[in-house]
Symmetry: C2
Amino acid sequence: AIVIVPAKAVEAAIADCCTKGVRFVVVEAAGFAETGVEGRETQERILKIIRDHSCRVLGPNCSGVINTHHNMVQSIGLLSDLRKGNVGMVAQAGVYAAGILTGLSNVLDFGIVATIGNKMDINETDILEYLSDDDHISVIVMYMEDIRSGKRFVDVATRAAVRKPVIVLKSGRTEAGKKAVSSHTASLAGNDEVNSAAFRQSGVIRARDNEHLFALTRAFSKQPVPKGNGVLVITYTGSLGVAATDMLYLSDMRLAALEPYFQKRLKNALPDYASVGNPIDCSFSMTPEQVKNLIEIGVESGDVNSFIVVIQGEILGSFVEVMKNIDYKGKPVVCVVACKEFMIDDVVKMEQAGFPVYSTAEMAAEVLGQMYHYGVRRQSAMTDSIARHLTKDAFSVDNNPVRLRLINPKDIGLWTDFVNGCSQKSLWLRFLSPFSATPERAERFCNLNPEEEVAVVAEMKVGDQYKFLGIARLIKNKHCAGEAEYAIIISDPWQNRSLGITLSKQCIELAKKEGYRTIRAETIQ
Amino acid sequence: AIVIVPAKAVEAAIADCCTKGVRFVVVEAAGFAETGVEGRETQERILKIIRDHSCRVLGPNCSGVINTHHNMVQSIGLLSDLRKGNVGMVAQAGVYAAGILTGLSNVLDFGIVATIGNKMDINETDILEYLSDDDHISVIVMYMEDIRSGKRFVDVATRAAVRKPVIVLKSGRTEAGKKAVSSHTASLAGNDEVNSAAFRQSGVIRARDNEHLFALTRAFSKQPVPKGNGVLVITYTGSLGVAATDMLYLSDMRLAALEPYFQKRLKNALPDYASVGNPIDCSFSMTPEQVKNLIEIGVESGDVNSFIVVIQGEILGSFVEVMKNIDYKGKPVVCVVACKEFMIDDVVKMEQAGFPVYSTAEMAAEVLGQMYHYGVRRQSAMTDSIARHLTKDAFSVDNNPVRLRLINPKDIGLWTDFVNGCSQKSLWLRFLSPFSATPERAERFCNLNPEEEVAVVAEMKVGDQYKFLGIARLIKNKHCAGEAEYAIIISDPWQNRSLGITLSKQCIELAKKEGYRTIRAETIQ
């Protein structure tokens, strides 16, 4: 039930709902704990009623929930049409949410917006948990004035942040700010350093203000996370190229180093007077086609993991269709348009085409840096979490102690020795074609994205060094959720000695814990 | 002369200009020191030619100068009509300047925009010096990639910053950024910490990016500097009130403390459910008339020195006329509109009406803080500079050593003793009416804004304490530049003993050094 009655009538209305067996109630009225002792007491009484009837309440002093995927709008604010999107948002207050949605819905597509108000019962952590499980949502945004139950928040946020980025704007940072919070939603803002530590610990990204919050959200919502920290900057003015460069390095990112081959190709794609370095300064004659050429050359370079494109506002409109028709090969691109607010129509077109547009080169560079570092943290958190599912115990094969663990980028030497020690027959059975160890393959097989592939090695200590006895891989099927391909290879002297069976059993166990329902393996005998 | 010919033809063109006796040349062509050794050598040769002929050159690799007050536009960029304004800007590069002017000219009125490019001869410090002397200019903005002749910059900037705010965006902060700078305009960006120290020392405000740069510029260009750090925040959403509060305190500002009388008046001006504290939360029903009432009550309170008004974007347009018709009594007001870019037409109307509009409450609060602290620094720098014009030497009156200095807020006790020690006749002659010392008057007469009034005291040591013998004042005539009123009072026992003449001579000397041409004094005998 949605209860929109004056504050005084709310208690009776909720009691009625409970009697009728209503399980979920949204209370939008204000005038409770945020107004003083009396309001707080009313909230206490309501809480007792709902607890007695196992009823859950959102609010009071909120604007309910919007779920575009379910075509549900409980908000009291006036809203234009919302497109279905992948952003899930927790907002403390309804007026705030309505205010920003009016504008933001032009450039950001929300799946769920939940306002929590005084959060008498359901709080930000409950919503966060829901958002992290909802497959429609791939970015979570939270505006909060306080955090209830800090320990549970850290647990839930840690798990959520491994799945999808969680970006938080938390106000009430100063003593005066906390006082303002308490008169706004009767919340206690708590110690800001403790909050900061909690965010860091759980891998949550903290934004400094609304601009930064939605700058991050637009990027995460529309673009993939960069797989490396090398950036190619394409600009029409050297000044903003310098600004981007500064902020990249201040954000622990770097300018991609262009191999001579790519330098030459880029030079051919530019007029004589343009500066072919990185940043590439196309000067005032920059055209969409030029930028397309440069990007298409850039995506081929192994050191270019993302792009910043600085576009002149006056000609922004001409970039939209051209930019849409580039194959970025999974590499993110963000745009900079100085004074973008004066070209807002074209900015909206670019944003709707999937390209975040920022007013400053600094913001673009900072956002790319935060995306990259989020990706690194997430991979490491996922790997840790998968590793925890593996047995810690060593087991014996023919009385030799053998240990299982995940492969990692430092294993290139061990992997190469292992492949070199396998017979051609074993390699053929595993790869279904002739196979030998090369540096590129070693890199490819040891440096894995845990979202896509996991490899478990069985290793034994020989003298003071370890040696691989076998490797098993689970490769996620991109086209079918919950399905993985399985492959295994055991070094020749250890075949038919129970190692293969033990390793496979462990991998099937691991796959179950990781949520796979089907595992496919091909074998040739 | 303005030279717009290909780089190769520039040297000959300048030689021709020099032969013809042309004294000032603007070179817009690129292709000089920024391209390598050959270009650098050409610049050296041109420099020799112009030095031999006492000719000055702006550029190369620039877009010349725009001076709206002289109806002069040398820019090669396309520009819409520019209004005459009070902002003077030094921009390194023409493309950058043209790019931002297109948008910014909607909300910011420039007097002068000078692009300096490779600054072979005329550099940023020369332009800064000119801007600080130009009476059309009241705010100076600089975008720079390097600083030539750091010592002279500090000298010129220190003097400029006492007259008007100087706001600087300096890129090339990192090693990679410096490298990008050198390929852009052949400049050496230097050590960023040294630059930061130079800015701090000279009282220049350093912006972190373009957004921040023009956020500050719009405020300084349109609003007076707050005279104290108490702020009244009026908002339609508690959330943004909290954000403003946090950033005020992080900026060494504070929420104004509302006296009970004003609290009561504010309560009467608001509906029951609105929260009358500071921030004042008008909630979603906020109207322009309500805000007008609140501001008109606020300006009367001694503790309110400035306003932040957070307005809902959808109804922003209805605020323009109402906000224009409020008497702010010299107290600045800045506005916040979340996601303002989507209401840009109304934002432009507000800006053109003189109200800076920011996307975030944080930016509004930070800008007010930077304005206030600039005002404090300027007052103290002005006082120091005036004090330096006073003789440091003690002189004798009847063999008693007497010292001259400026009065300051710590002198309330000495001032009160002095007034209490004067005869009614002396006081009458000075104030032309009965006069006695009250705490309010002591505050008013000791705590002076050096832009408006200066008081010189003659004091003598009696035991281990000082005692005032006389006070002379120079009060600037607001309606007539270069004119001041003069008044003097000498304590009765020290009258007719040459002190009055010595003090007056010193004050006239001081007034001359401060640039006053006329001093008026009324005396009754």
